[in-house]
Symmetry: C2
Subunit: 147 residues, 2 copies
């Protein structure tokens, strides 16, 4: 069993344990998220599945994404542009976003625990998590700029 398949199985187990039903549409949305290396928008998921489920409503995609969010299976990424992106990679990682084309790439870095601790001390917050986003120009767009 490949790693994405394994993660999918684990996610399905988590869903069942939360008392959530596994419908074909829900399964498909989850599967698509799991095997996607990009960070798709709700609409991208909808379009990707319309061959398989011609009658599926956009609302179903949104409903399921919310279920996954509530359970903690996916994370919502919001940037300046219009629509949210969804990330099912729950392992610790950060994102680097291209200012030109909007592409999002994951990269790994030791978790910044000391920043969380400092933030707690300075602000009195009870800290739960953090996000780090780096911005720049991807290699593709750097090439484009030269020509």
């Amino acid at each position: 069993m490949t790693v994405p398949e394994q993660r999918l199985q684990e996610a399905l187990t988590t869903l069942k344990e939360s008392g959530v039903r596994i419908t074909p549409q829900r399964h498909a949305v989850l599967e698509y998220l799991m095997q996607s290396m990009k960070h798709p928008t709700a609409d991208e998921i909808y379009k990707a599945l319309e061959d398989k489920f011609p009658n599926m409503s956009v609302a179903t995609v949104y409903n399921n994404l919310r279920v996954f969010l509530d359970i903690g299976l996916v994370r919502e990424l919001t940037y300046g542009d219009s629509s949210s992106r969804f990330d099912c990679n729950t392992s610790d990682h950060y994102h680097i976003i291209c200012d030109e084309c909007g592409k999002i790439v994951d990269f790994h870095y030791p978790s910044l625990n000391e920043v969380e601790q400092l933030a707690e001390q300075v602000t009195g917050f009870d800290v739960s998590n953090h996000r780090l986003e780096v911005y720049g120009t991807c290699e593709n767009c750097q090439q484009m700029a030269k020509h």
Copy 2:
């Protein structure tokens, strides 16, 4: 002259140098942003100024925010919730956001240059900047939860 007033003057100079006209509405939006310790939404700015400018259109607020964004006088903050927030503090700082009430508080920490460098090496991006957001529960909401 207080520090916010000084920053306002500098910002006005920057605007003039960019060939942007200083209208009363534009001045008021900028002034409000500069003296606000919160990170207001467009609508909050609009409502805050409606006594002074009863005929001002929301579009004017948005137009001016875009002008300030383009020139680099303010930064746009987007989170899961519906509307963008605007931050005129251009000095390096990070944000901590309350999961309960949505309050945003600034905190300072040495810039994470080494993360930017690593990201460049790993991804091949040409990095321009980065953002760090910490999430948690603010002191107020911690108190609320106890009672």
